[in-house]
Symmetry: C2
Subunit: 359 residues, 2 copies
């Protein structure tokens, strides 16, 4: 078994993923990363180290005409040669953008999400695999850093993420934690497969391409192991964030009305059924970072989303905690509000449609 | 009052610092940043908005010969003109480096710390002011990011930091949260003062200079408000880290021997007086990020320092938590170790000399 396939298997085990009897959908564009992922899985299957049922999914976003059709054909032929099932789809991201409030990039992402969800559902698969590498992670971290993301965003992508609670489908990125882009190219070559090249990956109008071609090379001149360093930092940030989330949950329980008769009466009078009122005094004593994390969680539960919720809104809610006076209100984006009355905070939430996560 | 002085006063109040009757030492190199800080404080004093007793401290590190002597003279003359007390010192950082294990940069930093501590003590002052700007903060965050720092390091510099618990002296950076370097240059010019130029700030052999002159300009081409974004991200990271520290303290209390008779016996038999033994089962259930933060804190208390303590050592301690078998040991850098026995972790610590923090 090749070194690439062995690393893939080690990561698969580290992530606690099933080694057999699982239906898996692999998103393959035909580029080196996704082709290497597919070839690696195929090699592990042939060696009897994995026994999964693989379906390859390929989407033409309708943005690159003939070239994209050739990619689809190439992926289909590769799958035929490997004896794998393939589902190829085609949409028009441009039409989708025109008929929605999405820009082209968002429309393409939403179309991809819909297509892949459909393939997962159609096959009864619960794992969707994408081929994001450590290089993609480094680029994501840098892009978010430059946009001014907070601690959560700087954690970058997760190796495993729940896509849908109900269907228990998960998105898995088995290359994210260890594979450099050069390794996927090398492995494709070693397997005698010449992967497709996406000209969009060379187009410097895209921020990600400029990060890859200008920023990363300069940063690598400071630290030759920068990509690994960023990947590790992102992992530590995700861990800190997860720990903080647990602490924030505990704070919400402590501050919430549940369990106290006074609190239950307060929660009832607020008319909010799924998120209790919170005690001002408990919130006031908590450290700021934890308090804002808890308030964000509270609002997320009440509205079903944190879309458009910015630090400035959380600071507005925090301002309600100051002083002894009640009867004050902080506005939330999209029409909800938080109200302070007799030492309690009440959330008057408009439910927000849950947005689709990026794939 | 100038806009610069007003912003300085607003930050001074935001940080909750005393407006009067306080003895303050200002570290002034003669560069635009520290000169602007000094002139801003002087303007606020003249306007009756601050009533502090200012002492200027200037150190010649003995690295730049005649030029440095001219800087010292320039600072002394500026202070004379402003009617301010000045204490100018001179050391040889090179000699200090030769007679210690420090490199030149560390030796210079330690010499500066000793000098400034001496000035603080001599004047009975409890506040030391340095002129780090938002640009310095952005550079620090990027340098640490490229070195692969974890969440704590990425928080960059603090605006207020305790220097010494006993003497209650604090380091304050009143420009850090708001001032761009261009503003300090501009304010000096507006006050008719031509600040000194440190040729070391132009020497591209220093990482910080390359970050300033190569990396930041490229990143600014992605986001023109990058410096502000990095400063805000650093603040959020510091807040998260502070919140996580509070949660880690709570976990230590929960996991520690204190309060249970079994635990007290365990702590006694371990011979550790100032850090209790920890329960394996409690640690095992905590989220990883929080658990490692708590272990780091536990080790810091036991040894007096976290010097040379890396993630790999913490993972080694975590490995002790797996399974049911006791009698295992994880080694710490510098000779200490952690031992698992009958469901408890014991720290066998060698006290480490507390290192000097950077100024």
């Amino acid at each position: 078994v090749s070194r690439f396939a062995r690393s893939l298997l080690a990561e698969w085990k580290r992530l606690g993923l099933p080694l057999e009897k699982e239906r898996v959908v692999v998103a393959v564009s035909g580029g080196a990363d996704s082709t290497a992922l597919l070839l690696g899985l195929e090699e592990l299957s042939r060696a009897g180290l994995l026994a999964l049922t693989l379906t390859v999914a390929h989407l033409d976003h309708g943005l690159r005409g003939e070239e994209a059709r050739a990619d689809a054909l190439w992926v289909t032929e590769l799958c035929a040669r490997l004896g794998l099932e393939v589902e190829a789809g085609r949409v028009s991201a441009a039409e989708r953008a025109a008929s929605s409030r999405d820009n082209l990039e968002q429309a393409a992402r939403h179309a991809r999400y819909d297509f892949l969800s459909g393939v997962l559902a159609g096959r009864g698969a619960r794992l969707l695999l994408t081929a994001h590498t450590m290089d993609d992670q480094a680029e994501t971290v840098l892009m978010r850093l430059m946009r001014g993301s907070g601690p959560a965003g700087l954690g970058g992508m997760e190796a495993v993420r729940l896509l849908d609670q109900k269907t228990e489908t998960r998105l898995v990125r088995p290359l994210l934690g260890w594979a450099r882009r050069a390794e996927t190219v090398e492995y494709c070559a070693a397997r005698g497969v010449e992967a497709r090249i996406d000209p969009m990956n060379e187009d410097e109008r895209f921020v990600r391409v400029r990060v890859r071609r200008q920023l990363l090379p300069l940063m690598l001149s400071f630290n030759g192991r920068l990509v690994e360093a960023l990947s590790r930092t992102a992992e530590l940030l995700r861990e800190s964030d997860a720990a903080l989330r647990v602490a924030a949950e505990a704070l919400l329980v402590e501050a919430s009305a549940a369990g106290t008769s006074e609190g239950e009466a307060a929660a009832e009078s607020s008319g909010a059924s799924d998120c209790a009122a919170l005690r001002v005094d408990v919130l006031r004593e908590a450290p700021g970072g934890l308090r804002r994390r808890a308030l964000r969680l509270w609002i997320e539960r009440g509205r079903g989303s944190t879309r458009r919720l910015e630090l400035v809104h959380l600071r507005g809610v925090e301002a309600l905690l100051e002083g002894t006076r009640g009867g004050r209100t902080a506005l939330l984006p999209g029409g909800g509000k938080v109200h302070r009355k007799r030492g309690w905070l009440y959330l008057d939430a408009k439910k927000v449609e849950k947005g689709v996560g990026p794939v």
